[in-house]
Amino acid sequence: MELLPKAENRVRRKSLMPGVGQFLRTLGAIIWKDLATELRSRELLSAMLVFALLVILIFNFALELDAQARATVTAGVLWVTFAFAGTIGLNRSMAMEKDRGCLDGLLLAPVDRSAIYFGKAIGNLIFMLIVEAIILPAYSVLYSVNLFKPGLLLVILLGSTGYVAVGTLLSSMAVQTRTRDVLLPILLFPLVIPVMIAAVKASMGYLQGSDILDIRPWLNLLLVYDVIFIAAAFMVFDYVVEE
């Protein structure tokens, strides 16, 4: 009788480790697939980048970004740009899967479906971070503002993570509708409002050199948002792609 639980434990431990290993392998394969496609076509990144630059140029005329205005609106301009460029990327990345039947192929593969979600999300995050890594120096040069502050980079990482976590889930929902391209921003923006508010406020705090005590609540909010929505997406993604 005493042997039974031991045997059970052994079986579980054996099956757990390959599970984690396989999950990571699947994750890596999906991220690699997205990166390789992008390396060959470069359609997603170039579209996001050009669009982001255009948004900044439009802001330049719309807001008269003189030295005085820049001090207060830089954080806002940056985040609106990231959000718009991010929507383009999210839309394209999911539409690509849907149009060429790639998503069905992924779903047919005998892998954990949350690995598909995390793979797509990390891929999207990488694209978004690349765009941000190009936009930040460009903005710094164009408007002679120093944007290279470690705090600001942390905010951008946290904010983009939350944005992409929700965005990937919603784009996989939006591709299943008739009005998919139009629908994604409508679904996404009201949901990521907390991220946007917190990210803008925290970025502005770092850019203006505010006290860390004033910035901390916003950072906490970003972290909480990221954790809650990554967990929620992990739980519901199975239902999104179910046929």
Partner: protein, 232 residues
């Protein structure tokens, strides 16, 4: 088709009576507020409307979870019913707040964080309707609608927290408000009674409407099946 349940008829009558009493209490029982005057009476139904708005969104999120776990379409009917009702009530809360703000703050709308967050919540659920409209397959519509309802419900508290970190001029009557709030007041006993009674009344209105809307949803499903059968 089943006839209207007797309990529902009773609920209709009780709700109607409660509502008449609540209106009476707001206008004749609650004392006149010293500073703001008559416009303060908006407060009772304003908060009650917002309460129903939030209640419906809670019901929708629970129905969404129910649908995902059980897969029974009846949860979907309850979910859309709750959101439809709450959408309207929350809109009334915004409009009535606007009327109050005109009298107290001197403007219909300010970009106060609290008002902004209310507008965001309303837009969130407008997006929910658009999402549902775009999907034809009923099973998929139910599933994806449920997920969006749950996600929205998760983000609403965060939106409110992000708003709380700002200083707001919206008064907080229950609990402690910010020192910068304008138009705050202390409730007398009679005001508190009227306020609580309004909350109770509106909860009844919500339950009553929800029941009606769920029946309507079931009938819609029934007609749809009948129509498909006739077409075949």
């Amino acid at each position: 088709m089943q006839s209207k349940p007797r309990l529902l008829t009773i609920l209709d009558i009780v709700t109607l009576l409660l509502f008449v009493v609540a209106v009476g209490m707001v206008f004749f029982y609650a004392p006149l507020e010293a500073v703001m005057g008559q416009v303060q009476r908006v407060f009772y139904f304003h908060v009650a409307n917002a309460w129903v708005g939030m209640l419906g969104f809670l019901v929708a999120a629970i129905s969404g979870a129910g649908l995902l776990i059980k897969g029974d379409p009846k949860w979907d009917i309850a979910g859309i019913a709750a959101i439809e009702i709450s959408f309207v009530f929350f809109f009334i809360a915004i409009v009535s707040g606007s009327i109050w703000a005109r009298g107290t703050w001197g403007t219909w709308w300010t970009w106060d964080p609290r008002l902004t967050s209310a507008a965001i919540v309303e837009l969130l659920y407008a997006a929910y309707f658009m999402l549902r409209q775009g999907i034809e397959d009923p099973d998929r519509r139910a599933r994806i609608g449920a997920i969006y309802a749950i996600l929205s419900f998760l983000s609403v508290p965060l939106t409110f927290i992000s708003i709380r970190i700002f200083r707001t001029i919206h008064p907080v009557i229950i609990g402690s408000g910010a020192a910068t709030a304008q138009g705050s007041f202390d409730m007398t006993t009679k005001m508190l009674q009227t306020f609580m009674f309004s909350l109770l009344t509106f909860s009844f209105i919500f339950a009553d409407l929800l029941w009606h809307r769920i029946r309507l949803g079931r009938l819609a499903v029934e007609t749809e099946t009948l129509r498909l059968k006739t077409l075949q």
